[in-house]
Symmetry: C2
Subunit: 358 residues, 2 copies
DNA sequence: GGGTTATCTGAAAACGATTTCATCATCCCT
DNA sequence: AGGGATGATGAAATCGTTTTCAGATAACCC
């Protein structure tokens, strides 16, 4: 019993028409007489026919699959982003080819080659080591791409980021207005534009309010939980430890929280804490965490809109790349308080009731 | 300037050989003389050639893309699972087509049709409403599939679940040995095998230890944060509220925690709490949450192994489906304590130091 | 040297769809 | 009634690969 996949040919035979007509009936934009169309559709339904999208993409020279390249889904933040993107794409009739790269440059290159090989209609990616050679490659293969979260060299792609600088500025300013001056900064590798921008926001705020930046309080490395653990420990061990910490990414927070717990630091009495990204569990930690929140859904929507614009209207004279930034809000929770005088005297209750924002 | 994608034909011309030979040099298993192979590879590199995997899959009748169908990535739990699966697959040279279904039956059907249409080599899916018609459809299109987390009717697919019954049993037993007898159960829709199995574990433990199940303490509905909020509130409002709660999924925990905070319930002094799944932030909540933990990486490994077995050795006489269960451990944290006598007397410190397990 | 292998190579037929082009009937209009 | 427009259909080319098949060349053995 040689089982074969049902093809259009089978449908055509069953319906007693040519393959061409069957094709038109199933998906064609051209005209087919009503009774023939019905016959074909009936046959297709009876046979459980499902068009081979690869063959279709091959012939049409264009698939309806979008590649998504993110560092990792283990990070709740990127997971939520991927979720928003995939939902949005499916709603528009696209499929998602997903590849986490772990921010490994070689892996990223490899992945992008593969995606092009898979003939994706377009790419949404969080660039890590994307260079101009790769940009040229993508252009050469006419694969539109939009960068999210981080920018690419020369902003040569449509880009949607968060308002990194402004957000970091707001977070830092908030700590300063609470009276803090020794504000630790736990940040990520400056090779990424998002990390540079956040640092910029921190530095700007410090400058604007006349607070000198103490290099000892600046801890920059890879954004991992382990780095959070170490960086936080380093800060606490200083002769003059910070009274507040600004963490530039949720990725380091598990580590930071671990250290604060294990060192029995009383947050926010002894130390205030603000994190750049907001993830759902920040509302339930001990204490809950004040954070800069941005809408992943809005980023998804913007990125997809830009991408589909390029996919569906391959203009002869393409518009120059645009750079969008998604705005943010400061969610004040329990991890921030007015700087306490030497003896931890009465402190203000700053905590927004949990659940107000989530 | 008519830009075209680089194809094998271009490479062949550049190298001065036929298309067939170029194909063999690039990917063929057949023999090609050394100098010709080198010429072709050089040409390919010079042209930045990347094979069109769709065309290849069409001809070879088999792609190297695996479809992954999960309810949602917004749930940190499934996100971690998807991450584990994608990493594992990429390591083996496969790609991932991802589709979240939001547990919507119509969406699931649609998605599976699409995946078959995309000609995936195989499917890994968390079944929600998968019925025998769909199973027949998959069989007919020779698309191997393995079910994860939940089982399918008749266990007609290779399946990898967690030890739901045993885990729930262990969690419940643990609460009982702490002295609790009024143990609330917040669970999910019994249409899913995982939820049935967890309920089973709860009921078994209660029976085995001679504790009657009070229907008032059993709250079953869709596993969402909102349901956690409501269910928990209902339980607290009872004339005789529970002294402990077993939540059958991490999905309800944000809601449960929110209610417990807003109602100022002292956990674990007034109420002990155990959750079935473990996610990373359970270690940092106020208090930290005792949980049943299983390894997503192990599930991923098992599922992929089973799937690739069927993909790569399409045996004439396929083996019958197998059912594997991934084991678990009970991670004791701060949300569980010995049942306090009427006045909340001294209570045991049960909390494992944070970070010990994470 | 002739016959037999072995080893490479190229022409051409797939894979399953879409689309161009040509054909043919039909209809409308003067 | 003839001619052009219109609309439905089928044959065949095409997308970019792989693979069969057969031919060609070289190598080898007696």
């Amino acid at each position: 019993m040689p089982k074969r996949r049902i093809t259009l040919k089978d449908v055509a035979e069953q319906a007693g028409v040519s393959i061409a007509t069957a094709s038109r009936a199933v998906s064609g934009a051209t005209t087919v007489s009503d009774d023939v169309r019905q016959r074909v559709l009936d046959a297709a339904a009876a046979l459980n026919y499902q068009p081979n999208l690869q063959a279709r993409a091959l012939r049409r020279r264009g698939s309806r699959v979008v590649g998504l390249v993110v560092p990792s889904l283990a990070n709740a933040y990127y997971a939520a982003l991927a979720d928003a993107i995939s939902q949005n794409l499916m709603r528009r009739g696209y499929h998602l080819l997903l590849a986490p790269t772990a921010d490994d440059p070689a892996g990223e290159t490899e992945t992008l080659y593969d995606m092009v090989g898979q003939n994706v209609a377009g790419l949404i990616l969080v660039p890590s080591a994307l260079d101009s050679a790769m940009l040229a490659y993508l252009a050469e293969h006419e694969t539109p791409a939009v960068a999210i979260v981080r920018r690419v060299p020369g902003d040569a792609l449509d880009t949607v980021t968060f308002e990194d600088t402004q957000g970091a500025y707001a977070a830092t300013r908030y700590l300063i207005t609470l009276g803090h001056r020794r504000i630790g900064y736990i940040g990520g590798d400056e090779q990424f534009s998002s990390n540079r921008a956040r640092w910029q926001g921190y530095a700007d705020a410090m400058r604007d309010f006349g607070v000198p930046v103490d290099p000892q309080l600046v801890k920059i490395d890879q954004l991992r939980a382990t780095w959070g653990t170490l960086a936080c420990l380093d800060l606490l061990k200083l002769a003059a430890p910070p009274t507040a910490i600004f963490a530039a990414s949720n990725a380091v927070m598990p580590g930071v929280m671990r250290t604060l717990h294990s060192q029995r630091v009383d947050v926010p009495a002894q130390l205030s804490l603000v994190c750049f990204d907001d993830v759902d569990w920040f509302a339930f930690t001990r204490p809950s965490i004040t954070a800069i929140r941005s809408s992943q859904a809005r980023l998804a929507e913007a990125a997809i809109t830009l991408l589909l614009e390029r996919i569906e209207q391959p203009a002869a004279q393409p518009r120059p790349p645009v750079l969008l930034e998604i705005d943010f809000s400061l969610v004040v929770r329990g991890s921030t308080a007015v700087l306490a005088p030497q003896p931890p005297a009465q402190r203000l209750e700053q905590e927004t009731p949990d659940g107000q924002r989530i």
